[in-house]
Symmetry: C2
């Protein structure tokens, strides 16, 4: 196995912090659920978590968060009546690795117990073929004959951040299938976990314990013989469209056991082969970048939603309940492009999630502030689209009080982010079914929201978007944030295009839609607003003001600013934060806009603004560095871009990020940064962009690299692009349906199915 296709460790560090971080790095997932990279014998104290996508629960006054399933992957041994665990037993050696090519987690641990050596070996995967299924192969070998007891089954001790989400927990043994089922606390949604083992040790005693969630297998081992058994566990919830979650779970494990481990693994691998064919990026000449980027892509692939689920990807993916399991703008801005350009059947689920939660966005618009029209998407969105973000969601360590922040009520760009992604999907896939199944409704409701939020400035004959937070969250309640205004303008533009498209292509659907949402009298306003909305333009020096009167703020260095902090964890924003009266910003804002609307601004403007804002940017968000990196590639500062690219790409493989803010645990993976790493490689160094007419490639191969190779899908056809020093090769699949125009470094070429195009 190529080292660039795995992450591995060759020792076990018995420290809480290390166990927690390893849990993130070695996690596996299949879109339906995530399984943290913990060892078979671990429990809630080691943050074992099987986090299920799209099901949320609330206990008491704590915040809602995703539900963790009882752990069907649990196995623990005793040897001669001694507990065996990496936590308490002498570990002679330990290795573990995660195979990126198929999301297989392997561990091998050699223990010394009562003078005997025991080797434990296990591999596990969450099936990419059968979303509800987890499969484990577990082996043990003793160097001397020993009395081994295996406890395996479903561990009902669940790690939860905010209370016990599963109530009425019942444990059953149904013909040797262990079944744990329960209901969620808040909504009473049914959740079931079934487990079956496939064991053939010959002589052994196999019982199911009284409490019914564990098998106990007593075995007299022979020295040197390896004993292997297989575990199958299935998780079902009421969100699955099944008649009975219990029956479905039992059926699932029964069938899996019948098929057997190898079949299950092969089916799983076949899916993974396809994923990498679609999505891999190769970087020749830079193993560090190659591995970090591939790991980033891997992170996105494991959490891509199950087809048809209409789920999206939370900010910490499925690595736990962190950040309330909520979906932020990060998904549309930083993850969606990866899927759109490589794996549109996943991109479409992210959009279906927004369609599914449109009513929540409507409720939010109606109830926020004085009440608005249309759709105001949740800043922190869960299953129903209601906002999980609180009005006081940052603690002030100086006073112990919760600070009023306006993330929820003023970060209005979220709606436009959704609308823009919705339209991008249509633009690059030509698939209008998404528009027809609700996407157009989303777009119109977002435009409607902006129109009701906007104000007309009579003196200046323009619409303005007042009282918002842009991407830079340190400056709350600002007026005419350039980014937000551009997003609103784009939303109006998209709404107008949607109206024109539907009117001509689907007049009946159009009629039905405008009647349904009673919007015909408002459509002319979107045309007016697109024209008259105020977009801050570059000043004489070429700098675009981030928001009204930003230039009047105090110019101070980040270092000077931080020197005045009283508490190391104090928040720099929120009304009276230290950054508020200064030009110091949390993350890319104007530069984010330049990246998002890249054709609107010249290289020169990009450079000037980059140079102005970069020294003032704290990069306090994992989303900041990649935005700066992408813009830097455009005006040619590749060294800088590379530094920020690597920083972004390594965030999860290195796992050196902060995991606590105050007392709040926020450790976990960073799928937005993972997406940012891919974008920096493909959009930045690859120089790729696309619209309804063509794919553009302006290669900016980094000095250190010999080749940058990646895959793209455009209007349903697939391409491999190889960028080498001075040349670009485009390989359209033979099975592609159409020819497409590519503009490579300004040169227009037509890529017909199966015809390799080489451009020097």
């Amino acid at each position: 196995m190529n080292t660039l296709w795995k992450v591995s460790a060759d020792s076990f560090v018995n420290e809480k912090e290390s166990i927690m971080r390893m849990g993130n790095v070695y996690q596996i997932a299949n879109g339906y659920m995530g399984y943290r990279g913990t060892l078979d014998e671990f429990g809630p104290d080691e943050l074992v978590g099987i986090t299920i996508a799209g099901i949320f629960d609330r206990v008491g006054d704590s915040w809602r968060e995703p539900v963790n399933a009882p752990n069907g992957g649990y196995t623990k041994l005793t040897v001669d009546n001694n507990d065996v665990s990496a936590l308490t037993t002498s570990v002679k050696s330990h290795t573990q690795n995660l195979q990126l090519e198929n999301a297989l987690f392997n561990r091998e641990t050699t223990y010394e117990v009562a003078g005997k050596t025991i080797v434990v070996n296990s591999s596990r995967f969450l099936s990419a073929d059968t979303p509800n299924l987890g499969v484990i192969k577990y082996s043990l070998t003793t160097d001397k004959a020993a009395k081994v007891m295996i406890n395996t089954g479903i561990d009902c001790n669940i790690w939860d951040l905010n209370g016990k989400h599963l109530v009425n927990l019942r444990l059953e043994n149904r013909d040797n299938v262990l079944l744990v089922h329960a209901e969620t606390n808040e909504l009473g949604k049914r959740v079931a976990v079934a487990e079956m083992i496939d064991i053939d040790f010959g002589k052994c005693k196999h019982e199911i314990a009284d409490n019914k969630n564990l098998h106990t297998i007593e075995l007299e081992t022979e020295a040197g013989t390896t004993y292997t058994f297989y575990k199958y566990f299935a998780v079902f919830t009421e969100n699955d469209t099944v008649a009975s979650v219990n029956d479905a779970a039992i059926k699932n494990v029964t069938e899996a056991k019948l098929a057997g481990y190898e079949k299950c693994l092969n089916d799983h691998n076949a899916q993974w082969t396809k994923k990498w064919q679609y999505c891999d990026v190769e970087i020749d000449g830079d193993d560090e970048a190659q591995q970090a980027l591939r790991y980033s892509i891997f992170q996105l692939l494991i959490v891509a939603p199950v087809n048809g689920s209409a789920n999206s990807i939370p900010a910490r993916a499925l690595s736990g309940q962190v950040y309330k399991g909520a979906i932020f703008w990060d998904t549309e801005m930083f993850m969606f492009p990866f899927f759109l350009y490589t794996y549109p059947e996943k991109a479409v689920e992210l959009m279906r999630y927004r369609i599914k939660t449109l009513d929540g966005a409507r409720r939010k618009a109606k109830t926020e502030g004085v009440g608005f029209e249309g759709a105001f998407y949740a800043w922190e969105s869960q299953d129903d689209g209601d906002d999980a973000c609180t009005y006081f969601n940052i603690g002030d360590p100086n006073t112990g009080r919760d600070l009023r922040t306006h993330f929820r009520d003023k970060q209005v760009h979220i709606s436009g982010d959704v609308a823009i992604a919705m339209w991008e999907y249509f633009k690059l896939t030509e698939d209008d079914t998404l528009l027809l199944e609700g996407g157009a409704e989303v777009i119109l409701e977002c435009a409607r929201f902006y129109f009701s939020y906007a104000y007309y400035n009579t003196n200046k004959n323009r619409y303005e978007i007042l009282d918002v937070i842009g991407p830079d969250e340190y400056h709350e309640r600002v007026n005419n944030n350039a980014f937000t205004n551009m997003v609103a303008k784009a939303t109006f533009e998209i709404a107008n295009k949607t109206v024109n498209y539907l009117k001509h292509k689907h007049p009946d659907a159009f009629k039905t839609l405008i009647q349904k949402i009673n919007i015909s009298g408002e459509l002319h306003r979107f045309v007016e607003a697109e024209k008259l909305i105020y977009i801050p333009e570059p000043n004489n020096e070429g700098v675009i003001e981030q928001f009204d009167a930003y230039f009047k703020l105090k110019d101070t260095s980040i270092k000077e600013l931080k020197a005045t902090m009283i508490h190391p964890n104090e928040y720099l924003g929120a009304g009276q934060g230290l950054a508020v009266p200064t030009k110091v910003i949390k993350q890319a804002d104007v530069v984010m806009m330049l990246n998002m609307f890249k054709t609107r601004y010249s290289k020169e403007i990009k450079k000037v603004n980059w140079q102005y804002y970069e020294p003032r940017t704290e990069h306090g968000s994992s989303l900041s560095a990649c935005a700066y990196a992408m813009v830097a590639t455009e005006f040619g500062d590749l060294d800088f871009a590379y530094e920020y690219f690597l920083k972004t790409a390594k965030i999860d493989i290195e796992a050196k990020y902060k995991v606590y803010v105050g007392t709040i645990f926020m450790g976990g993976s960073h799928p937005a940064a993972n997406g940012g790493a891919w974008m920096t490689a493909v959009f930045g160094f690859g120089g790729v962009s696309a619209d309804e007419n063509q794919v553009t490639i302006n290669p900016r191969l980094y000095t250190k690299w010999n080749k940058l190779q990646f895959n793209l899908v455009y209007k349903g056809d697939r391409f491999t692009v190889k960028i080498t020093r001075g040349a670009v090769e485009i390989l359209p699949l033979t099975m592609n349906k159409n020819s497409h125009t590519f503009i490579v470094s300004g040169q227009s070429v037509v890529c017909a199915p199966g015809n390799v195009v080489f451009i020097k």
Copy 2:
């Protein structure tokens, strides 16, 4: 002397705190300058201050503040070479009083020094007839022969809050006139103090000390003989229209000495007789209320600007440099009505001050935020109309940091407060000269400001005033504050009336004005805005929402709120203050509006809103109680009104107010509360209101009172109104020019010159 016409003390408390408070209570002033109620021998440590109206200075980074003059009232004795001072000498007895009828401060102190008794007696006044002049009569008597040395002259040790404002101080003796002259630090404005004494002790040695600011008079007293001398001091600044401040000061004291003490006092008294004829209010049957109210009126009379000065009255009047000597909205809202209804030649100066500072208001509009049109008056206004208010003007005791507050940039109602007062002056005086000499320009520029600040809400077809602070300063950056929107609407209305009036009455002046300020193309907008500006109306329960979404704030009691304070001085507003997320308000806001626009709202609405907001009001401003009191009289809760009236009226005579906020000294008098007390008596219990057509009187005599008698001026004619139980008597002066309509308890009567009208 009636005890209701004086305040007095019969002992001297030798404590810093008491000396400071007595300095406020016993202050005298004549509009040109104030002289704190300190004793002759006191110096800067006892907060002696002669604060000059309308001249400001800044030293270094400290804030600008009024200039204090060198103390021309200084006298100190030695007896047999022992210093005599209330601070260090044994005081056998001490009495002091302030005569309200003529603003005369008297002290008599009996000391024991070296076995002898010495009685010191002094009286002082600042001439109400000759603004620059101060006069002192000083006597001493010893019970045994003694060697007395008198040091008298100009004390150049000046109490200053923020640095030494007078530089290049020169001391001169010009033919026995002591002269101290200097320049202000910032602008180099010339300031001069001259002093002369009139002494005739027969045999004594009179020298002028080397440093030339003090006379030393050596005198061998005879037992039981009283030795009296007179001091005349004059203060001039470059703001006086004189060729030389030195010469003017010398001339002033020379002439005063020539005229003599009695003549000076008589001229002074004649002015005071007139003042009280114009302004007195009598309350029969309630000495406490009578004295407190009269003292309040006295406070206003002493600081009424000198005719022609175009000065206004600072928030702490002339009692020191506190609050930067700045003029706030308090002046228009709480002091101006008193002068308008009793003493219009003083009211006009307050308005001239706003005309004088119009350019400052224009500068502020241009430079605040994104820049606005028209006139945005300073929140804290000094001589030039530039804003003395800082962006960080409250310290946070929890962190030691200065809090960003938005008093300066968001309290936009100030401009309308000015415009409304300007129009009121015209309405009640029929004197349009003020409009012509700049008042109309002020009004149009204020309307222009609001139009440029307002936004049009297309969905709702209305103009809105966003992002403001209303009178309740705890809630910053709110939208559609009912008070502010009403003020803006009134401003548009007034602007439209001004245009119509000038167009017809003074077409040339109108033409010149609109050309001067290039506003003809905007006038139609004011008409539209008057119609379309959004005014929050009562909800189903009759409550008017203070601002958008106020009703959504947390309902908590003031007590509960305060229980969560960490530091007793922590500010409850400013972004993250404890009151911000709650309905707790600092001071009358909706209720202030109901009082200001009283004809627009029914009694029932007033009562409902009063009952809703009062329990939520902290009354953290001295301006709050009287607004609640006045509205309470309208719906008949006279007991409550009385309680709040008394609270307001007694503020300065009791002097129990807080004098420090954090480390900032803010002790001093409260002329706005003084005006509020008068308004509560006359507008509240008297039920007086007036417009261009008539004076309305709806008497609501408090149970305890037998008679409420007050004086009014209306369109240049004067009236005394006597309200007794069940009857109202109106006494127009015989010299009145016209008959006027009065509506008394709904009954219309005509008051012809000299014709007493009695209504039962």
